[in-house]
Symmetry: C2
Subunit: 177 residues, 2 copies
Protein backbone atom coordinates (compact mmCIF):
# COMPACT_ATOMS: atom_id res chain seq x y z
CA UNK A 1 0.00 0.00 0.00
CA UNK A 2 1.50 3.28 -1.17
CA UNK A 3 0.97 6.34 1.05
CA UNK A 4 1.72 9.85 -0.17
CA UNK A 5 0.99 13.10 1.69
CA UNK A 6 -0.47 16.11 -0.12
CA UNK A 7 0.20 19.43 1.59
CA UNK A 8 -2.23 22.09 0.32
CA UNK A 9 -2.23 25.86 0.81
CA UNK A 10 1.49 26.26 1.50
CA UNK A 11 2.52 29.94 1.58
CA UNK A 12 6.10 31.18 1.21
CA UNK A 13 7.63 32.21 3.56
CA UNK A 14 4.82 32.09 6.13
CA UNK A 15 4.41 28.31 6.24
CA UNK A 16 8.02 27.27 5.72
CA UNK A 17 8.53 25.84 9.21
CA UNK A 18 5.19 24.09 9.63
CA UNK A 19 5.36 22.60 6.12
CA UNK A 20 8.88 21.36 6.91
CA UNK A 21 7.44 19.66 10.01
CA UNK A 22 4.68 18.11 7.84
CA UNK A 23 7.25 16.72 5.39
CA UNK A 24 9.59 15.35 8.07
CA UNK A 25 6.69 13.80 9.97
CA UNK A 26 5.46 12.18 6.75
CA UNK A 27 8.91 10.65 6.25
CA UNK A 28 9.52 9.60 9.86
CA UNK A 29 6.08 7.98 10.15
CA UNK A 30 6.33 5.91 7.02
CA UNK A 31 4.80 7.84 4.11
CA UNK A 32 6.55 7.28 0.77
CA UNK A 33 6.70 10.94 -0.21
CA UNK A 34 5.08 14.35 -0.05
CA UNK A 35 3.61 16.66 -2.67
CA UNK A 36 3.37 20.36 -1.77
CA UNK A 37 0.82 21.75 -4.18
CA UNK A 38 0.37 24.96 -6.16
CA UNK A 39 3.71 26.61 -5.39
CA UNK A 40 7.28 25.66 -6.27
CA UNK A 41 9.48 25.88 -3.16
CA UNK A 42 13.06 24.90 -3.97
CA UNK A 43 14.31 25.83 -0.49
CA UNK A 44 11.85 23.44 1.11
CA UNK A 45 12.74 20.70 -1.41
CA UNK A 46 16.44 21.10 -0.66
CA UNK A 47 15.84 20.98 3.12
CA UNK A 48 13.91 17.72 2.85
CA UNK A 49 16.30 16.12 0.34
CA UNK A 50 19.20 16.93 2.63
CA UNK A 51 17.45 15.10 5.49
CA UNK A 52 16.88 12.11 3.20
CA UNK A 53 20.57 12.08 2.16
CA UNK A 54 21.65 12.19 5.80
CA UNK A 55 19.04 10.02 7.54
CA UNK A 56 17.92 7.73 4.71
CA UNK A 57 14.91 7.00 2.57
CA UNK A 58 13.37 6.27 0.23
CA UNK A 59 11.25 9.43 0.41
CA UNK A 60 10.42 11.93 -2.32
CA UNK A 61 9.28 15.54 -2.33
CA UNK A 62 7.65 17.35 -5.22
CA UNK A 63 6.40 20.94 -5.13
CA UNK A 64 4.20 22.91 -7.49
CA UNK A 65 1.48 20.76 -9.11
CA UNK A 66 -2.11 21.98 -8.78
CA UNK A 67 -3.83 20.22 -5.88
CA UNK A 68 -6.93 19.33 -7.90
CA UNK A 69 -4.87 17.56 -10.56
CA UNK A 70 -2.98 15.58 -7.88
CA UNK A 71 -6.26 14.50 -6.29
CA UNK A 72 -8.02 13.67 -9.56
CA UNK A 73 -5.02 11.70 -10.88
CA UNK A 74 -4.89 9.73 -7.63
CA UNK A 75 -8.59 8.88 -7.81
CA UNK A 76 -8.25 7.95 -11.50
CA UNK A 77 -5.61 5.38 -10.51
CA UNK A 78 -8.06 3.80 -8.02
CA UNK A 79 -6.38 5.30 -4.96
CA UNK A 80 -8.21 6.67 -1.94
CA UNK A 81 -7.99 10.30 -0.89
CA UNK A 82 -8.03 10.78 2.89
CA UNK A 83 -8.57 14.40 3.90
CA UNK A 84 -7.61 15.09 7.52
CA UNK A 85 -9.93 17.71 8.96
CA UNK A 86 -11.33 18.78 12.32
CA UNK A 87 -14.83 18.32 10.84
CA UNK A 88 -14.57 14.74 9.58
CA UNK A 89 -15.50 11.29 10.86
CA UNK A 90 -13.40 10.20 13.89
CA UNK A 91 -10.23 8.28 13.07
CA UNK A 92 -11.17 5.32 15.25
CA UNK A 93 -14.48 4.89 13.37
CA UNK A 94 -12.84 4.54 9.95
CA UNK A 95 -9.27 3.32 10.38
CA UNK A 96 -10.12 -0.38 10.15
CA UNK A 97 -11.90 0.12 6.84
CA UNK A 98 -8.98 2.15 5.52
CA UNK A 99 -6.43 -0.46 6.56
CA UNK A 100 -8.45 -3.32 5.08
CA UNK A 101 -9.12 -1.69 1.72
CA UNK A 102 -5.41 -1.98 0.94
CA UNK A 103 -5.80 0.85 -1.61
CA UNK A 104 -3.06 3.42 -2.08
CA UNK A 105 -3.69 6.49 0.03
CA UNK A 106 -3.21 10.18 -0.63
CA UNK A 107 -3.35 11.83 2.80
CA UNK A 108 -4.33 15.49 2.45
CA UNK A 109 -3.50 18.21 5.01
CA UNK A 110 -4.13 21.93 4.62
CA UNK A 111 -2.14 24.95 5.77
CA UNK A 112 -5.07 27.37 5.76
CA UNK A 113 -8.84 27.17 5.31
CA UNK A 114 -9.42 24.39 2.82
CA UNK A 115 -11.52 24.89 -0.34
CA UNK A 116 -14.94 23.29 -0.14
CA UNK A 117 -14.24 21.06 -3.15
CA UNK A 118 -11.69 18.96 -1.28
CA UNK A 119 -14.37 17.81 1.18
CA UNK A 120 -16.41 16.64 -1.82
CA UNK A 121 -13.56 15.06 -3.77
CA UNK A 122 -12.07 13.18 -0.79
CA UNK A 123 -12.94 9.51 -0.44
CA UNK A 124 -12.95 10.04 3.34
CA UNK A 125 -12.88 13.15 5.53
CA UNK A 126 -11.27 12.00 8.77
CA UNK A 127 -10.92 13.89 12.06
CA UNK A 128 -8.07 13.36 14.51
CA UNK A 129 -10.18 14.68 17.40
CA UNK A 130 -12.77 17.35 16.55
CA UNK A 131 -10.66 20.00 18.29
CA UNK A 132 -8.51 22.64 16.60
CA UNK A 133 -4.84 21.66 16.78
CA UNK A 134 -2.20 20.92 14.15
CA UNK A 135 -1.96 19.17 10.81
CA UNK A 136 1.44 17.87 11.96
CA UNK A 137 -0.12 16.10 14.95
CA UNK A 138 -3.04 14.90 12.83
CA UNK A 139 -0.73 13.41 10.20
CA UNK A 140 1.44 11.74 12.83
CA UNK A 141 -1.46 10.04 14.57
CA UNK A 142 -3.16 9.04 11.31
CA UNK A 143 -0.01 7.30 10.05
CA UNK A 144 0.54 5.71 13.46
CA UNK A 145 -2.94 4.17 13.35
CA UNK A 146 -2.62 3.19 9.69
CA UNK A 147 0.62 1.28 10.28
CA UNK A 148 -0.50 -0.03 13.71
CA UNK A 149 2.67 1.31 15.33
CA UNK A 150 4.97 -0.66 13.02
CA UNK A 151 6.33 2.67 11.72
CA UNK A 152 8.12 3.14 15.06
CA UNK A 153 10.46 0.28 14.10
CA UNK A 154 11.13 1.49 10.57
CA UNK A 155 14.72 1.40 9.29
CA UNK A 156 15.74 3.84 6.55
CA UNK A 157 17.87 2.83 3.58
CA UNK A 158 21.10 4.58 2.73
CA UNK A 159 21.32 6.58 5.96
CA UNK A 160 24.69 8.19 6.68
CA UNK A 161 23.88 8.82 10.33
CA UNK A 162 22.11 6.74 12.94
CA UNK A 163 21.15 7.64 16.50
CA UNK A 164 22.02 5.22 19.28
CA UNK A 165 19.40 5.89 21.97
CA UNK A 166 20.84 7.26 25.22
CA UNK A 167 19.40 7.85 28.69
CA UNK A 168 21.43 11.10 28.85
CA UNK A 169 23.05 13.06 26.06
CA UNK A 170 23.50 12.24 22.37
CA UNK A 171 25.17 9.44 20.49
CA UNK A 172 25.21 9.45 16.69
CA UNK A 173 27.21 7.02 14.56
CA UNK A 174 28.32 7.47 10.95
CA UNK A 175 27.25 4.54 8.77
CA UNK A 176 28.95 5.24 5.42
CA UNK A 177 31.74 7.31 3.91
Amino acid sequence: MRVVVLRMGHRIPRDYRVTTHVCLTARAFGAHGVIVSDVVDTKLEETIRKVVRTWGGPFFIETGPPWRKVVEDWLAREGEVIHLTQYGIPLTDVIEELRCSGRDKLVVVGAKKQPREIYELATHNVSITNQPHSEVAALCLFLHFLWRGEELKKEFEGARLKVIPQAKGKKVVRLVG
Copy 2:
Protein backbone atom coordinates in the same frame (compact mmCIF):
# COMPACT_ATOMS: atom_id res chain seq x y z
CA MET B 1 -1.67 12.78 37.24
CA ARG B 2 -0.99 16.35 36.18
CA VAL B 3 0.69 16.87 32.80
CA VAL B 4 2.12 20.23 31.75
CA VAL B 5 4.10 20.95 28.59
CA LEU B 6 7.22 23.12 28.69
CA ARG B 7 8.11 24.73 25.36
CA MET B 8 11.76 25.87 25.40
CA GLY B 9 13.67 28.07 22.94
CA HIS B 10 10.65 29.94 21.51
CA ARG B 11 11.72 32.83 19.28
CA ILE B 12 9.46 35.74 18.30
CA PRO B 13 8.33 35.91 15.53
CA ARG B 14 10.16 32.97 13.96
CA ASP B 15 8.49 30.23 15.99
CA TYR B 16 5.02 31.74 16.36
CA ARG B 17 3.26 29.17 14.17
CA VAL B 18 5.02 26.03 15.36
CA THR B 19 4.70 27.06 19.02
CA THR B 20 0.99 27.67 18.44
CA HIS B 21 0.75 24.11 17.07
CA VAL B 22 2.61 22.83 20.16
CA CYS B 23 0.16 24.60 22.49
CA LEU B 24 -2.98 23.49 20.62
CA THR B 25 -1.71 19.91 20.41
CA ALA B 26 -0.98 19.96 24.15
CA ARG B 27 -4.57 21.04 24.80
CA ALA B 28 -6.27 18.71 22.30
CA PHE B 29 -4.30 15.69 23.53
CA GLY B 30 -5.05 16.17 27.20
CA ALA B 31 -2.25 18.21 28.80
CA HIS B 32 -3.42 20.58 31.54
CA GLY B 33 -1.45 23.56 30.34
CA VAL B 34 1.66 24.87 28.62
CA ILE B 35 4.55 27.02 29.77
CA VAL B 36 6.55 28.83 27.08
CA SER B 37 9.83 29.70 28.75
CA ASP B 38 12.22 32.64 28.68
CA VAL B 39 10.18 35.06 26.59
CA VAL B 40 6.88 36.80 27.22
CA ASP B 41 4.60 36.42 24.18
CA THR B 42 1.26 38.10 24.74
CA LYS B 43 0.10 37.48 21.17
CA LEU B 44 0.60 33.74 21.58
CA GLU B 45 -1.14 33.79 24.97
CA GLU B 46 -4.12 35.59 23.50
CA THR B 47 -4.35 33.15 20.56
CA ILE B 48 -4.42 30.14 22.89
CA ARG B 49 -6.82 31.72 25.41
CA LYS B 50 -9.21 32.54 22.58
CA VAL B 51 -9.21 28.87 21.53
CA VAL B 52 -9.91 27.85 25.14
CA ARG B 53 -12.81 30.33 25.37
CA THR B 54 -14.29 29.00 22.13
CA TRP B 55 -13.56 25.28 22.34
CA GLY B 56 -13.35 24.72 26.10
CA GLY B 57 -10.86 23.81 28.77
CA PRO B 58 -9.54 23.82 31.35
CA PHE B 59 -6.14 24.65 29.85
CA PHE B 60 -3.66 27.33 30.90
CA ILE B 61 -0.81 29.09 29.13
CA GLU B 62 2.00 30.99 30.82
CA THR B 63 4.91 32.63 29.00
CA GLY B 64 8.19 34.04 30.24
CA PRO B 65 9.59 32.08 33.21
CA PRO B 66 13.18 30.80 32.90
CA TRP B 67 13.17 27.17 31.77
CA ARG B 68 15.63 26.06 34.46
CA LYS B 69 13.44 27.43 37.24
CA VAL B 70 10.37 25.68 35.80
CA VAL B 71 12.25 22.37 35.64
CA GLU B 72 13.83 22.68 39.09
CA ASP B 73 10.54 23.69 40.73
CA TRP B 74 8.82 20.71 39.10
CA LEU B 75 11.48 18.30 40.35
CA ALA B 76 11.36 19.87 43.82
CA ARG B 77 7.65 19.04 43.94
CA GLU B 78 8.41 15.37 43.19
CA GLY B 79 7.29 15.59 39.58
CA GLU B 80 9.00 13.87 36.65
CA VAL B 81 10.56 15.79 33.78
CA ILE B 82 10.18 14.03 30.42
CA HIS B 83 12.36 15.54 27.72
CA LEU B 84 11.29 14.55 24.20
CA THR B 85 14.37 14.26 21.98
CA GLN B 86 15.52 12.39 18.89
CA TYR B 87 18.44 11.06 20.97
CA GLY B 88 16.56 9.53 23.91
CA ILE B 89 15.28 6.10 24.88
CA PRO B 90 12.44 4.85 22.63
CA LEU B 91 8.93 5.70 23.79
CA THR B 92 7.78 2.09 23.77
CA ASP B 93 10.63 1.09 26.12
CA VAL B 94 9.68 3.58 28.84
CA ILE B 95 6.00 4.41 28.54
CA GLU B 96 4.79 1.67 30.88
CA GLU B 97 7.11 2.87 33.66
CA LEU B 98 5.98 6.47 33.11
CA ARG B 99 2.29 5.51 33.24
CA CYS B 100 2.73 3.40 36.36
CA SER B 101 4.73 5.95 38.36
CA GLY B 102 1.63 8.14 38.51
CA ARG B 103 3.88 11.15 39.15
CA ASP B 104 3.04 14.53 37.66
CA LYS B 105 4.80 15.07 34.35
CA LEU B 106 6.47 18.08 32.80
CA VAL B 107 6.85 17.23 29.11
CA VAL B 108 9.67 19.29 27.58
CA VAL B 109 9.95 20.12 23.86
CA GLY B 110 12.51 22.44 22.27
CA ALA B 111 12.25 24.84 19.33
CA LYS B 112 15.97 24.89 18.54
CA LYS B 113 19.08 23.01 19.67
CA GLN B 114 18.53 22.23 23.33
CA PRO B 115 21.09 23.17 26.02
CA ARG B 116 23.07 20.21 27.32
CA GLU B 117 21.81 20.75 30.88
CA ILE B 118 18.26 19.71 30.03
CA TYR B 119 19.47 16.21 29.11
CA GLU B 120 21.05 15.99 32.57
CA LEU B 121 18.19 17.53 34.53
CA ALA B 122 15.45 15.46 32.84
CA THR B 123 14.18 12.41 34.70
CA HIS B 124 13.80 10.70 31.30
CA ASN B 125 15.02 11.57 27.81
CA VAL B 126 12.51 9.92 25.49
CA SER B 127 12.63 9.56 21.69
CA ILE B 128 9.55 9.39 19.47
CA THR B 129 11.50 7.58 16.77
CA ASN B 130 15.21 8.40 16.45
CA GLN B 131 14.55 10.29 13.21
CA PRO B 132 14.45 14.07 12.79
CA HIS B 133 10.85 15.27 12.55
CA SER B 134 8.72 17.59 14.65
CA GLU B 135 8.17 18.41 18.30
CA VAL B 136 4.46 18.72 17.46
CA ALA B 137 4.32 15.11 16.25
CA ALA B 138 6.48 13.93 19.14
CA LEU B 139 4.23 15.62 21.71
CA CYS B 140 1.07 14.24 20.08
CA LEU B 141 2.30 10.66 20.08
CA PHE B 142 3.75 10.88 23.59
CA LEU B 143 0.43 12.08 25.03
CA HIS B 144 -1.46 9.48 22.99
CA PHE B 145 0.65 6.70 24.53
CA LEU B 146 0.51 8.21 28.01
CA TRP B 147 -3.30 8.34 28.01
CA ARG B 148 -3.66 5.05 26.10
CA GLY B 149 -5.87 6.70 23.50
CA GLU B 150 -8.42 7.89 26.07
CA GLU B 151 -7.58 11.48 25.09
CA LEU B 152 -9.40 10.93 21.79
CA LYS B 153 -12.70 10.80 23.74
CA LYS B 154 -11.98 13.87 25.87
CA GLU B 155 -14.80 16.40 26.34
CA PHE B 156 -13.89 20.03 27.07
CA GLU B 157 -15.68 22.10 29.69
CA GLY B 158 -17.32 25.41 28.88
CA ALA B 159 -16.99 25.07 25.11
CA ARG B 160 -19.06 27.50 23.05
CA LEU B 161 -18.71 25.51 19.85
CA LYS B 162 -18.77 21.81 19.15
CA VAL B 163 -18.11 19.95 15.90
CA ILE B 164 -20.61 17.32 14.79
CA PRO B 165 -18.53 14.91 12.66
CA GLN B 166 -19.55 14.78 9.00
CA ALA B 167 -18.66 12.54 6.09
CA LYS B 168 -18.66 15.64 3.83
CA GLY B 169 -18.50 19.31 4.78
CA LYS B 170 -18.65 21.01 8.18
CA LYS B 171 -21.22 21.07 10.97
CA VAL B 172 -20.58 23.17 14.05
CA VAL B 173 -23.16 23.80 16.78
CA ARG B 174 -23.22 26.64 19.31
CA LEU B 175 -23.50 25.34 22.87
CA VAL B 176 -24.00 28.50 24.93
CA GLY B 177 -25.23 32.10 24.52
